[in-house]
Symmetry: C2
């Protein structure tokens, strides 16, 4: 596409105010902004798909974290993919397909150092799915932090979700017994039928999670991959096997808490069982992304990994769609198709 076809303005979503609890109608502001030409070292990218992720909730809060908070009035941060439409960076040409923190906007002007080219043949969605941050998160959070051994029991929460569904399948590939926790019969069926879980727990239909985990993991939990925190984390700790590991990926049940985070009251199981609870941030593994992507591509090609997307059309629908992550109503990786013409 030549420069002349670019619009003068485009749609963007700004953070309007910091939410207390769940984001609401006042949290974001839809604006029209000028599409600015790139300066030296920059590229201009037409965004095709934007990834919606639970971590976004944390980025809205004004507190110490692994990234600075999004400023009030700034374009909301978000991982996305798109096509270079103007380039003033020697490594990028018009037409290059890239990923990066392009934000909630139709066009992103960004330093070339902050984007990566997609590998040939990788489609937009795959680049935000198994070969994107969620894939890297599942891969390193399970294999590096959780370090499961063949034959061990791996318990996964948010197991039907964007990261969890990959964790389940990678754990199966590595010879583990996999127990998935998800909300609702449909997700549980998906876990068993499509993601290979050996047992499932529907937390919405369970009034004693600790007993449910015990029943599903009679030899205890060797690795717990935690996406949710709260009561589920406590139930997992109560059933930790000797030397068990908790890989802390997230705590979606706590991100909108208005009366403080619930700490795991069963944390002393780490002492009794000589366990380890360890957090990670996927960005730390950047030097090893290629290694993970190569292995995941192999699994995809061999049909060993199945993956689902939940695609919302238009940026304007993004703020409301984000809430699906917190009420659990999405199934699969939640994406916004920012460019209606994107495949």
């Amino acid at each position: 596409m030549s420069d002349t076809a670019l619009p003068e303005t485009c749609t963007a979503v700004q953070l309007a105010e910091r939410p207390t609890g769940l984001p609401d109608d006042k949290t974001f502001r839809i604006v029209e902004q000028t599409v600015e030409a790139p300066e030296d070292g920059e590229v201009l990218v037409r965004v095709t798909y934007l990834s919606l992720d639970p971590a976004m909730r944390g980025w809205m809060d004004d507190r110490r974290s692994y990234l600075p908070p999004v400023g009030i009035g700034d374009v909301m941060r978000g991982l996305a993919v798109g096509e270079v439409v103007q380039s003033r960076h020697p490594d990028f040409a018009v037409g290059d397909r890239v990923s990066g923190a392009l934000g909630w906007q139709q066009f992103a002007r960004i330093n070339g150092k902050e984007v990566n080219k997609l590998a040939p043949g990788v489609d937009w969605k795959l680049a935000l799915g198994p070969l994107g941050m969620v894939g890297m998160t599942a891969y390193f959070g399970l294999l590096d932090v959780g370090a499961p051994q063949e034959g061990e029991t791996v318990l996964v929460s948010g197991a039907a979700g964007a990261v969890g569904s990959l964790v389940c399948q990678i754990a199966k590939i590595k010879g583990c017994r996999v127990v998935g926790i998800a909300g609702g019969a449909d997700k549980c069926a998906l876990l068993e039928e499509e993601y290979g879980a050996d047992a499932v727990i529907d937390y919405k239909a369970t009034d004693d999670l600790t007993a449910a985990v015990r029943a599903a993991c009679p030899k205890g939990v060797n690795v717990y991959f935690d996406n949710v925190g709260g009561e589920v984390l406590d139930a997992a700790l109560a059933n930790l096997a000797f030397g068990g590991r908790v890989s802390l990926c997230g705590a979606i049940s706590q991100y909108n808490a208005t009366d403080g985070i619930k700490g795991p009251s069963n944390y002393l199981a780490l002492l009794m069982q000589r366990g380890r609870m360890q957090g990670f941030i996927v960005f730390d593994y950047a030097a090893r992304y290629a290694e993970a992507a190569q292995e995941i591509v192999g699994w995809l090609q061999a049909g060993k990994i199945s993956y689902r997307y939940d695609v919302v059309d238009s940026l304007e629908a993004g703020p409301r769609a984000l809430l699906k992550l917190f009420d659990g109503s999405n199934t699969g990786k939640l994406l916004v198709r920012v460019d209606p013409h994107a495949g």
Copy 2:
């Protein structure tokens, strides 16, 4: 001492009922019991000193742990030292000095496999102090689980206590900056003057522990050795440095909780800071005790380690003395001199 001098009965302390909250007058029962001759493979030991430890509180509860609960009506469990007075085990002779879980009693009949001879020249108290379980706990919990590097900041709670005071001194020997948390001006003075702490926090005189830890650890906490749990654990997590480690040794603030254990609400710091929280039980390091003892003996001989004892006379005073661990009124390793003639 010859067999003929043995009394027919001796004093013992039984667990009479499981406490709710703090142990009280009904928790233990003082009894006179028969001194029984050892059977094949057993030894009879005259107990000289009994160690009182926070872990005893956990042993009284009827719940899953690293050791089975003490039974109601059983002699209370406890680590102790003593002298073999009768032996039907080939490895032990009358007069041998041993340590083991001899229990709260004046004479213990026990399998020879369950006791260990003291090294020559080690006195009774040292064998229950720096060269006993508290020494091993400090050594492995700090060096193996916490894994501090030279120049790092090590934060220690219960820092003036039996384990904590050793942790502080070992961390100093290893070239760390040491910050100790204790209750009261006397303990804090001891920490600075005798145990080498670079900074101290008197938790009883502090209304904002998180701010106090931040002030004392401006570069963050690389290793937190946790003896207490509760708010102090949360304050440490809030100040965790990148890649920080929490070594979970105990949670004395929570052992008598009647309304449930307080989990660490700041546990997501493990995620943000890529931290690790890991529990351990000293018994797992049994194969390496000799290695630790050798190094600790060297430090003692070089005058690099100072150590204090708080000795209570007579078993009858044991139940009340145990409470000192929970109100913090002891300074140094709490021991019961079971044999009034013991040096």
